[in-house]
């Protein structure tokens, strides 16, 4: 069936796997408030995401 596989496989980079195995201590509890010591930036997609959210309306389904 090899000739049928025109679609490319999903992520195959092992870095994703490795990062999963790493123990996650990305946040620490501090009093009543959880402090995040790392940041994931989404500046590149937030503007488009805002436009999408403003106009997001769906047909009712099941």
């Amino acid at each position: 069936m090899s000739e049928q596989t025109q679609i490319q496989p999903k992520r195959t980079d092992e870095s994703v796997q490795e990062s999963v195995q790493t123990p996650e201590q990305v946040v620490v509890a501090h009093g009543e408030e959880t402090i995040f010591d790392d940041e994931i930036f989404i500046d590149d997609l937030i503007e488009e995401a805002r436009d999408v959210a403003k106009n997001f309306k769906q047909k009712g389904g099941q």
Binding site: T5, R11, R50, F56
Partner: protein
Amino acid sequence: MHLAGEEFILYAFAIKNIDNSILKKEKAMRDKPVILGLETEYGISVYNASETDTLFAPYDVVKAVNDLNIPLIDRGLESIDTIEEHEKMEAEARQRLFEYKYENRVAILRKASRALRQRLGCSGYMLETGARYYVDMQHPEYSTPETEDPRTIVLVQKAGDFIVEECRKRAEHRMRVRTGNRDLAIHIHRNNSDGKGNSYAGHENYSLSPNLFDEIMYSSDHFEASNTFRGSSVIQSITNTVLKFLVTRSIIIGSGKVGFEEYEPASYQISQRADFMMQPIAASTVYYRGIINTRNDPLARYRLIRRFHTICGDSNMSELSIYLKCGITALFFKMLEQGYIQNSSGNLMTGLRNSVSAMHAVSRDLTLRQKLPLADTTFTTALQTQEEYCELAKSYVEKNQLAPVWTDVAEKWEAVLNGLNGDRLSDPWASSLDWVAKERFLKQYQKQHHIDNPVDINCQAIALAYHNTNPDRSIYERLLNNGRIKRIVSSKEINSMIHEPPVDTRAYLRGKLIQQYASHITDIGWDYVVFTNNTVLQMNHPRKGTKDQIEPLLADHPSFEIFLERISHLFTTEPLEMSHNRWIDNIGDID
């Protein structure tokens, strides 16, 4: 007719044999693992496009599967587009399914209108993975193939998401070329609500024995003690414990939602679907939805197996959420099948006083400690109830020496509950659930950007973008790739399921038939195949047609005719004409 003497003895003997046969098969059914399946209606939006292009976008996306050059069977892209039409077809389907108890399913389908065939699962494409891909109510819909394994259900769901995304890209490209508009964009979201009062499905399916199914659906004491005290038989019932489980599992399977659409105001909710659950038990899937949906279409031999169609859960992005959603629910039903919950000490069988109110309350209670009134005038919390079920499940798995995957489900269930009991945002397991991962990211974003209003448009945008199927636009994918969300399966495993069916159910045979004998197939559904030689293969045993059974039969690359002869010992084959005319509820072997 009056029977006497020897005639009566022979008659009684025959009846006893039939009853014993059914009981034996029912017991066998109760001992088997639960078969799992998921259905997803994807949210779809087109930007910078005409109304017509927007209207046809779901069809364009689904039809784009032809561009992937994968083996499939095209069954026509009929669609039910409106709620009114769906309701009408649903009512007709219920009537037909009553006949289905006595008549052959293929005969029913052959007589059905095109719209009814769509409602009964006979349109769109059947893929080489054994999955179904179609359009329903203006949404692209993907239904996974059947499997008994909760890890495999994660794989086939993720493989399906990947196929949908590949189709989106191709449909978007075609639409841009056709319209000459390079700014046109198709967005697909795997969520359940548009925030404006419209909801669409993330359905689950679990195989049950007919006895348990009937007890849940038709038990005379299923009414809750919501208004009046009705006595102990009402307080404790199978139906009530199912309702309690489904309501409280929201704290594990929720996808998280900014805002609310019905009932009490909320800035953030655990569940996307809770606002749309309006009754404890109901038939409708589009208007007044019930926490328990009464759809009774087993897609298998009616007297031996039933399909519990669950509509109150969320579609999940997180592998852990998908894994636990199916895993803990399957364990719950397994414990019910074998009387484990019924015979347990404590009040696991005691129902909620009002499950619908509790559903809405649990979704809004971010402390997870809101007291939920029980029918016996005591109280519980969602967390406490789930801890009780989890504790019982751990002992059930150990006592019955279930396969290792079920031990893993029970352990992760416990780990997640422990995390929810503490600082969930810092717990690696709890924060890998969709609603917690989203909550955590929203808090982080609000803090970074000094946003005080939790329903700010940026928060809404983030909540929506979490579910985008395009990895470049998906916040879920970004969190995953940064190691913020734990994985259950690997990318390599997902890739392997893009072209292969699960090995442990009839989905394997369905997939192999599509891969190797597509030119001989006229029509193929969940439980039947019609071949070009006018032969019908009745695949009404979901556990038959597994890799173990089928792979050896394909080893020498047999011709279609030889392969059909080989599999006839597993399933009934008969001429199409006979299939039309047969009116019989035959009792076959379950194994």
